[in-house]
Symmetry: C2
Subunit: 363 residues, 2 copies
């Protein structure tokens, strides 16, 4: 099937661009001796996780227990669940994964959670590996203070069924900070805080094997920090319209856009716009609008028009996309856009070459 | 199971509030002799469609062919697909529904589409019923002008395999217009335009059996317009946080909030906030933020913090929700929020009484 004949709406993944992005990130990590455990919250795909591992990744980071379950079932090793597993339901599911001998690492930020983790891990014949999370300014999960983090690590060490393995420090709030120099300045401050935490852990005879964090927007700084043992970026795979205009290195942005939504023209009865069958349920809306890139006049812009529609607007003098024709749009925020679709339609140039399911969608 | 023990994140549907909302809308329509074909893009549920039909609804409106397929498979009659079916893939799927003798009505806004519809309908032994859509200011689908609409209706009549059945006119752009008086003024203008279209159709000997449109925000005006034979509201079922503060009648808003997301507290290590496991993938983000309503200190506010997390923030002096406890949030835009979940957890007061699947999610 040709790319412009796909059944719309469809999530299009350009395999050449994806492979190039994977290669670029793998080279960047290898150069500085930092491991890569890319975040599966972005891709939710066993096939992409396998490609990353083939390029040298340690495994996959996961935001939810459902992502970890899906990737474990697909045989993906080295799963780090980057959010605390604090509710009874999460703990039940972690327990089931342990009994299936899934290779997982958890993060924790609370003494009470350590007791719960120790209880479920005691039913397993392998120690459960746990990182302490330190908040580094995001204000989300993580211990607020270094002392808390060290105390928590000591508490993990004291549990026979748990194994303290390291530290997580994630600056999500800095990923798209502009200009680049300001991102660099704030990441440097964050790195000093991580170093201080590592020193405090060592002073308590707690050597972290893993120091994990980082993302697409800060990866260039993260790998050169000489503090992270691994990083967990995800969006570099797709380079959505949020990341595309942002320099990811001092020399710009080496990654390529690979993720598009193909939409069909359902109404074409005005000279300055067509209506396509992709709206609030086909695109994430938290970070701006998708950008029409294929099958449209130059300068076309997209406007959300309800659950299942958008307007693609352009100058009256331009060519009018035909009724029923296919338009492609660069997605805005990739992670929640991927989550809206059931599968990737994988293309090389103008040909559809594969179809990959999107896992662990919805609740 | 108790409501506060659900597996989070979960979409909670309060059945008493839902039933009350259905009853209120059914009474309002019956009083003015207007039929009800509620929009399934909001609920995506065969169970809710059946409850609406039990309360007197004609059937269900659908935004996509996938919604129509799912409801037809569940035996729901009277399906109106409110968007033009213009792409080859849509036409194939309509054709399959016709061959299964599904009871569907389509809308059209383009001559070229009429030819395509006539071709697929000619393979069926029943005429395909088609409404002409008139744009009434939304600028999305629909014929821009009344003359176009009449010409299109004549063209439908000329096709042996098609049956012209009426007119669709939808003012989506007026649904949440404030103040109420301005909404009323603009709806009155819209109604005059619909009347003019109906007159023009009659002058061409095209009597519309169906005049459909309207929504939750304008339903009180729509039913009293003496022009619509039926209306297609959806959000009244749930009364999300977009509609809740908006008067839907001159005397305020008779509907009750029925849709919530239950989220679990995953981090509780600061005095002024907790972190819950519901973020950009659990809530729509196009129309503001969810509102914490149960299990939180008074005045708590929600802030999005990534794909799978949000902060619930409050005054330091308040009680702190416990680690692993459940918080409920009133959803913002209901339709795209429902689409993110796989099922409704149906509750009466504090007890879970049922679980209903959400159909036709994703592409």
């Amino acid at each position: 099937m040709r790319r412009d004949e796909v059944k719309t709406p469809a999530l299009i993944l350009d395999l050449d661009a994806l492979d190039k992005n994977i290669e670029l990130m793998a080279i960047q990590c290898a150069e500085f001796g930092v491991a890569l455990r890319p975040h599966a919250k972005s891709h939710k795909s066993a096939e992409i996780a396998r490609r990353l591992i083939a390029a040298g990744a340690l495994g996959a980071s996961c935001a939810t227990i459902a992502e970890a379950e899906a990737l474990a079932a697909a045989g993906i090793p080295g799963l780090l669940i980057t959010s605390p597993m604090s509710t009874n339901y999460m703990l039940e599911r972690v327990s089931r994964l342990l009994l299936r001998r899934a290779e997982i690492i958890l993060v924790a930020d609370d003494f009470r959670n350590i007791h719960a983790l120790a209880a479920i891990a005691s039913k397993s014949d392998q120690p459960l590996r746990v990182c302490v999370e330190l908040d580094v300014g995001l204000g989300r999960t993580g211990c607020p203070d270094i002392d808390d983090a060290v105390g928590l690590a000591q508490h993990i060490r004291a549990q026979a069924s748990l194994k303290f393995v390291g530290l997580q420090a994630y600056w999500g709030h800095l990923q798209q900070l502009m200009p680049f120099e300001e991102r660099q300045r704030q990441v440097s401050q964050g790195i000093e805080r991580v170093r201080a935490a590592v020193s405090a852990l060592r002073a308590a005879a707690l050597e972290p094997d893993i120091i994990t964090g980082g993302g697409t927007g800060t990866h260039w700084l993260d790998v050169q920090s000489n503090v992270f043992t691994e990083i967990q970026p995800g969006s570099f795979l797709f380079l959505d319209s949020c990341y595309q205009p942002i320099p990811l290195t001092p020399n710009g942005n080496p990654f390529l856009p690979s993720l598009f939504v193909a939409a069909g023209v359902v109404t074409a009865n005005r000279p300055d716009r067509v209506i396509v069958n992709a709206g609030l349920k086909a695109f994430a809306t938290d970070s701006g609008k998708p950008v029409p890139v294929h099958g449209v006049p130059p300068g076309a812009v997209y406007r959300f028009m309800g659950d299942e529609h958008g307007a693609v607007e352009f100058e009256k003098s331009s060519f009018l996309p035909g009724l029923g024709s296919t338009i492609e749009l660069l997605t805005s925020h990739c992670d929640p856009t991927v989550n809206l679709h059931t599968r990737y339609i994988v293309v090389r140039r103008d040909e559809v070459v594969d179809e990959w399911p999107i896992l662990a969608r919805g609740y």
